[in-house]
Amino acid sequence: MSVLNSMGFAKPPPATRIVVAMSGGVDSSVAAALLARDGYDVVGLTMQLYDVGAVTAKSKTCCAGQDIYDARRVADRIGMPHYVVDYETTFKTDVIDKFADSYVRGETPVPCIMCNQTVKFRDLFKAAKDLGADALATGHYVRRIMGAHGPELHRAVDPGRDQSYFLFATTRAQLDFVRFPLGGLEKPAVRALGEELGVHVAAKPDSQDICFVPDGRYAETVKRLRPEAARRGEIVHVDGRKIGTHDGVIHFTVGQRKGLGAGGEAEPLYVVRIEPETARVIVGPKAALMEQSFALHGVNWLGDEAAPGGDGRAVIMKLRNTHTPITGTVFGDGAGTARVVLDRPEAAVTPGQACVFYDGTRVLGGGWIARGGASQPVSLNLKRAATASA
């Protein structure tokens, strides 16, 4: 048998078709250029996700923004075929609407994960297969490493760039097909490669925030999509006192300290809980923010052994992308929900964010943090869970 090429296929690069998801940014452009340099049959696809004009409240245009133009020019320069695929409808349904609904439910969503799960690794995945591709490559900073039991997902070499948090929901079938050419590189090296390979976006600034929310004004976007979310309500202290009013739960996230209008309080107050049903924002001192146990839904497991069951599995985990990893135990029910019991209480466990499990650099999976300690989807072995965490 011949040796495998750098993408893991037993054939020469020119006979290996790799579809690259090109956003028009530096990273995916360099990923495409690297693969082209290595001789692969590279095809670029850029997703049209939303009407740039409509989002920025300028005139509605059929035309794409600068990013599609940039992606096309990079592909021209590399000399590779490039196409725009229209996922506006599915992006609206699966990402933008869900993002708004999540805020309305009092959560703080991570739309980039929703996008990876749907338009990128479902629709673009299918498009790549339709084009006869052997693999789909993206510019994510994350590593896919062949292990004894198949491909594993690992944190990027550059810790400041690692995007593994956003890819926890990648399924095994997806992991089998996707490639991440940049996972082993540091960002400055990627920029340098961009210069070297003539990728003219090499100096382009990194994209920030959420692509469809101009200027980071989430509340404005949610209000436009779900006007009812701007319902006024009360700010209530955990001790039961009403301490003020607010212009809608969408302006708050768990752990938030600013904008509560609670000047006269003895100690700093934080958002502890959001109750969208009554439009109440519950605030309290830092101590009230601490939680040791919470539920997950939409759990994905990528470990070699069976997914955690009632006996629990100790893992390292991140509760936000920028979170310093902490330790705890996951108790699964085998049906997509789980309960996490942390070794130490943690502040601001935020519904809507992902809880991502790691073992060293390896991503073992994760799940979405559910609202409310009261509704506990996982009841099995909680007693043991409590014991284990003691």
Binding site: V43, T46, Q48, C62, C63, A64, I68, R72, P81, Y83, V84, V85, D86, A127, D130, L131, G132
Partner: protein, 363 residues
């Protein structure tokens, strides 16, 4: 890598004819401005007037009726700017841009509803009726002669966008009964960026681009000499190329026969109507046009779908929508358009790249 390319997108643009390329190249040696009095100016002027005669002959008019423009979009604008314009629902966007929002519908094969046009004209007579000679997406021919009679009956002009006609069907301005007609050079082997508006004798329309008074004050600006020379050369060839139309029709018909045989679930849109000899608009249920186009392109087969906007994404086709196609349908339609360079070998290339999609969808 120089794999053979099957170019099956003549309705978007035809390859430049060698005659046109030669005529254009020759103009690069001409230093004069066509408006200059001296010999260099006269030499350039002669090139333009030779081309004007060739274009006039192509559509059976006198040279004085030909106004050179930057293309059919500009010609359509010149003809329609004075409005109000009643147009068919399947016109090109450069016509619809000037038309009343309520257009005249078409039947399931894409032919204009003449009784509906008649009713509209009686109720709200416009200044201009716009009806294309042949549709760019389906190749369906329109009853321009009948529409012209209806238009004239209510005192309106008839404008005909005849861009898809030359080289494929006889374009006789007089026989059509049109008052204005637009042409584009690159659809039949001329260069891109040049076209013409044909005017009925005696009809004067306001100039939009004003200045030096070129083109009998109808369109100012120093003439696109190379483009016009290429246009003229292509017009000479296109007139003669009409005899090639039956051969092109045979290729197209063989294509559709093979389609019916190998992918019976596919449909040819507009097949029930009289069509251009070269166009097939085919719909493969369950496979998006996007996917078909990419897959074909990667196999060196070049076709189009609907009207691609500048982002490259495929916008819903207003033509197929007007024909009653559902969104699921028109998202799966592509246009295959043949030309003088097309042969049976192109069909083999097409089907070897396209059949896997049809078989996957059928499975």
């Amino acid at each position: 890598m120089t794999a053979p390319v099957s170019y099956l997108d003549y309705n978007a643009s035809a390859p430049l004819l060698p005659e046109a390329a030669a005529a254009m190249t020759a103009t690069f040696a001409l230093m004069g401005n066509p408006s200059s009095v001296h010999r260099a100016g006269r030499a350039a002027r002669a090139v333009i007037e030779d081309a004007r005669e060739a274009v006039a002959a192509l559509v059976n008019v006198t040279p004085a009726q030909v106004v050179f423009t930057s293309g059919a979009t500009e010609a359509n604008g010149l003809a329609l700017v004075t409005g109000p314009v009643t147009a068919s629902a399947v016109e090109h966007p450069s016509v619809l841009a000037w038309a009343e929002a309520e257009t005249i519908g078409v039947d399931a094969d894409g032919v204009i509803d003449l009784p509906a046009l008649d009713n509209r004209l009686r109720e709200f007579p416009p200044a201009v009726v716009a009806l294309m000679l042949a549709n760019n997406e389906t190749g369906v021919l329109q009853p321009v002669v009948d529409a012209a009679a209806l238009a004239h009956g209510c005192g309106a002009r008839l404008h005909c966008d005849a861009v898809q006609g030359p080289g494929r069907v006889a374009v006789d301005f007089q026989a059509l009964g049109a008052d204005t007609l637009s042409l584009s050079a690159h659809k039949f082997g001329g260069p891109k960026g040049v076209g013409a508006l044909i005017l009925r004798p005696g009809l004067e329309l306001p100039a939009v681009i004003k200045g030096g008074g070129q083109e009998r004050r109808r369109r100012s600006g120093t003439e696109n000499l190379a483009g016009i020379a290429g246009f003229g050369a292509a017009a000479l060839t296109a007139g003669a190329a009409l005899k090639d139309a039956p051969r092109i029709a045979a290729v197209r018909d063989a294509f559709e026969a093979r389609l019916a045989d190998q992918a019976p679930q596919a449909r040819v849109l507009g097949q029930g109507a009289a069509r251009l000899c070269n166009t097939s608009c085919i719909m493969l249920p369950g496979v998006s046009a996007e996917t078909q186009l990419m897959r074909l392109d990667l196999a060196n087969v070049l076709v189009s779908a609907g009207s691609a906007c500048s982002s490259g994404k495929i916008a819903p086709s207003h033509v197929l929508t007007a024909m009653g196609a559902s969104e699921a349908d028109f998202k799966c339609a592509i246009r295959v358009s043949f030309g003088p360079g097309s042969t049976a070998a192109d069909l083999d290339t097409f089907f070897s790249a396209w059949m896997p999609l049809a078989l996957t969808a059928a499975a």
